[in-house]
Amino acid sequence: MELVVNQKRYRLVVDPARMLLWVLRDELELTGTKYGCGEGQCGACTVLIEGAPVRSCITLASAAAGKEITTIEGLAQDGKLHPLQEAFIQADALQCGYCTPGMILSSVGLLKKTPQPSEPEIRRALHGNVCRCGTYPRIIAAVQSAAVQMAAGQNSGAPHA
């Protein structure tokens, strides 16, 4: 099968029963996508498929074949962090950091659909992502701050808009 991950094409021969999470992690060594529960309950394994957040632990790799997959490793461009990555650092929106890739990708998906989300919209969009360290208030602050940054970036024509 062919996987398109972070704009790179990979030809792979894998068991059709394998989930995308493990193919990304173990075949492509893209380990930023995390295992947390294996049943789509915690969001640590979130990736974007065609720009929409998807739980890679319950998505067959074959179902994602040929589609555009973005993992956390593909978010920064030329060493420049995505505004959400920057905002998570600035807002201290992480402790152990294990949920962070999934949180950020779910947030990217949200801001793509809803560039200026209200707080309830952020809560709803991220409800499927667990941060056991409890940094939720900081994650909301980070998403709000990134939304402002991205809106400003769009006006000035900067990337990531």
Partner: protein, 740 residues
């Protein structure tokens, strides 16, 4: 031994497995301590008499080791100017990699980014008992400051020699050494180049909190960039050449014995190796799907004795006392009795007997237990996420019966722990499979294994008998805690007649440390009871507490929380309630005020029967004092985290079990706090620059549950005495606010 709390039961266990020994054909290699440090300046922090009561730098793991013994930490300034500090502590999200770097950078007058930490590697860093109990900040940070200060003085010596000037005309600033007279400056690396200078720390003066420039500020997490880009490799992300994946076949129940084993079919699968050693059964395979098929193909039968279930848990704990664990070495199991309880009760106008219960709960670290193990010419290296690298090393030594210096444990910054990663099961399992496969093996526990085969926060029963005069003076207080644990068992109130006692019990489930230990259970019982006493005499809960409490630090946080919350100022509204609680633990003082609503179920879809109302926590105000604050933002972040974690245990988390099996071992069945549970969180930091810093990752968790219980009582008149309080909503009737 340093004082370890009694309820850290997992520390008293032996390794999870013991295997047949294999003769080692290798000589003990004595590693050259300096080989890996290279040239430059080395500062060794030796343990002095006072420090010998501390936990780092010594211990049984030092035997057979070539390092100079009795060291707590060391710091190296390389010829390239790189500052590297070696500590046995681990980073699990509590941000000590950042706060300890702040401590060293402060003393070296250098930017925080110039200080690197090598943490928790049993070959490279000094022994450490473990990262738990909120000890890193009070115990390790002062040591780091001493090392940093000594390095500063040594650099001043070197510069004074070089420039032929008095030491007093040399100073450090901005990561450089400067000659105050000439204005000349020189980098640390230039000064240490060509040196092989080793010094022992000798009590150089550390910077007092009042003069802190870097400490006391909110430095961002030092390796945050690696985490937001996915570059950081947790244990579960590591890859070794030729690595295989491993898994253990779990018994059908706790304490089960293997009675039948047939691996014929699994053993014939391509690229699969099945391993059996006593009751240990596992397999390795090149990928997770093959591994699952192999495990499923192994036929086993197990036998286990009947075991208790949730339904009988609390009666069981009271009916099955055991001797104190840990023999005579542990701390006293309760506060010594003062006065005479019976006389105190006789002097009371109101008496109250009540029983409180606490269910087992799970840590649910988002990164499950994991390990990568590799055998290389008889030497075992294991990467694993543990809070006790040397404890795990000892477990491996014991499990495989190999010499200490043939085992190395390395702990990458780990995906959280909360007291749940003190043991080394995954490390031993991966090592056993790697030994059989003769290739590196990675083993990541599934979420279900994490929910089942780890250990839990102890369940418990707490009985309180008390008496109070009609003008609100508590005259008698007796607390008996069955199984939960003795942490924070003693009342912080001033009561003439009081006794608090812990009673160890036989536990149906494996139990151990959890953030805050039993301080949560003891505070839940005590502070709920305090509220009932206040109600009995018709006093305001705040006023009642202040009347019975002299401790100025506790009074200060209680008053600070109440002020911020505007306690007593809100009008009461139907279906809403406010509550407060306060307490002391691990040198930290906390007060929590909450506001809650009783809301109709937000249950979606068709309702067959009306769902019971739910408790929604709207606002939480925490006032916290832990001495001098090292990093205010990270402290606030820890308090946010404690509040969120506490919500789960307060309202809905409980491990359900029956007959040796866990009945809700999945995140779909065991609810943890999510965005929808997030209240408005406000924090007041009471910064006491005049007091030593205490650890802060745990204590802010203790006040939430009782404050919420008190708010439920305020809203509904119903007192809930069991944790969790509202797993499926609460039994009350919503007050109708609709007016015709």
């Amino acid at each position: 031994m340093p004082e370890i709390e009694l309820e850290r039961y997992e520390l008293l266990e032996g390794p999870a497995y013991r295997f047949e020994p294999e003769r080692s054909g290798f000589e003990l290699e004595r590693r050259d301590f300096f080989k890996f440090l290279g040239g430059g300046l080395v500062l060794l922090l030796a343990l002095d008499g006072a420090a010998s009561a501390q936990e780092s730098g010594r211990g049984p793991a030092m035997r057979g080791d070539a390092r100079p013994p009795e060291l707590a930490a060391w710091l190296h300034i390389g010829e390239d100017g790189a500052i590297t500090v070696y500590t046995g502590k681990v980073e699990v999200g509590q941000n000590i990699r950042t706060s300890l770097a702040q401590a060293v950078a402060e003393e070296l007058r250098a930017p925080i980014g110039s200080v690197q930490f090598v943490m928790a590697d049993t070959d490279l860093t000094p022994y450490d008992m473990g990262t738990f109990g909120s000890r890193s900040t009070p115990l390790m940070a002062p040591q780091m400051k001493k090392v940093g200060a000594a390095a500063r003085e040594a650099l001043i010596d070197l510069a004074a020699d070089k420039w032929k000037v008095e030491r007093t005309s040399v100073s450090l600033a901005g990561g450089k050494v400067q000659n105050n007279a000439s204005g000349e400056s020189i980098g640390f690396g230039e000064l240490t180049r060509g040196q092989k200078l080793m010094k022992t720390v000798d009590g150089a003066a550390v910077t007092p909190a009042a003069d802190w420039k870097l400490e006391g500020t909110s430095a961002p997490k030092v390796n945050a960039r690696d985490m937001v880009t996915g570059a950081h490799r947790y244990t579960s992300d590591l890859v070794r050449p030729n690595m295989l994946h491993g898994r253990v076949l779990r018994p059908t129940a706790f304490k089960a014995k293997l009675t039948s084993f047939d691996a014929k079919e699994a053993g014939q699968m391509q690229d699969v190796l099945v391993v059996r050693d006593g009751d240990f059964v596992g397999a390795v395979a090149p990928d997770e799907v093959t591994l699952s098929k192999a495990i499923a193909a192994i036929k086993t039968e197990w036998s286990a004795d009947p075991q208790p279930s949730n339904k009988e848990l609390f009666a069981y704990l009271k009916e099955h006392p055991t001797a104190q664990r840990g023999g005579g070495e542990g701390p006293a199991a309760g506060a010594p009795a003062h006065g005479n309880i019976e006389q105190g009760l006789q002097a009371a106008d109101h008496k109250l007997d009540a029983t409180y219960t606490v269910e087992y709960i799970a840590h649910v670290p988002l990164e499950p237990r994991a390990a990568v193990a590799e055998w290389n010419e008889g030497k075992l290296t294991v990467w694993t996420g543990t809070q006790r690298p040397w404890g795990v090393k000892s477990d491996l030594v014991e499990a495989f019966k190999i010499p200490e210096d043939r085992v190395r444990v390395i702990v990458p910054d780990t995906g959280s722990a909360y007291g749940g990663k003190h043991t080394g099961e995954a490390a031993i399992e991966a090592a056993r499979l790697a030994k059989a496969a003769n290739r590196p093996v990675k083993l990541i526990w599934t979420r279900e294994e994490e929910f089942t085969w780890a250990y839990f926060r102890p369940a418990g029963v707490i009985d309180i008998r008390s008496g109070v005069t009609k003008d609100g003076l508590i005259t008698a207080w007796q607390l008996d805690n069955y199984n939960s644990g003795p942490s924070a068992i003693e009342t912080p109130y001033d009561i003439a007649n009081h006794a608090s006692q812990f009673h160890a019990a036989d536990t149906p489930l494996r139990q151990g440390s959890y953030r805050g230990l039993a301080a949560t259970a003891n505070h839940f019982a005590r502070e709920s009871h305090m509220d009932d006493l206040a109600a009995a005499v018709g006093m305001d809960p705040l006023e009642f507490r202040l009347k019975n409490m002299k401790n100025p630090r506790l009074r200060a946080v209680l008053q600070a929380a109440a002020d911020k919350f505007a306690w007593g100022k809100a009008n009461s509204e139907p279906n809403r309630g406010v509550g407060l609680a306060c307490g002391v633990e691990k040198g930290g003082y906390v007060a929590t005020c909450v506001e809650i609503s009783i809301v109709a179920s937000d249950f979606l879809g068709a309702e067959v029967a009306p769902a019971p109302p739910k408790v929604r926590i709207d606002r939480v105000v925490t006032a916290f004092e832990c001495g001098a604050v090292v990093n205010p933002e990270h402290l606030r972040n820890q308090i946010d985290g404690s509040v969120m974690m506490a919500i789960g245990g307060a309202l809905f988390e409980a491990v359900e079990f029956a007959n040796g099996r866990i009945l809700n071992p999945r995140l779909a069945q065991y609810r943890v706090p999510r965005f929808s549970d997030l209240p408005v969180i406000e924090t007041v930091l009471v910064d006491r620059k005049d007091l030593p810093s205490a650890g802060a990752g745990e204590t802010p968790i203790v006040g939430l549950a009782p404050a919420v219980g008190n708010a439920i009582f305020h809203a509904t008149g119903t007192r809930i005495r069991s944790l969790p309080m509202a797993p499926k909503g609460i039994e009350t009737t919503l007050v109708s606010t609709a007016r015709a």
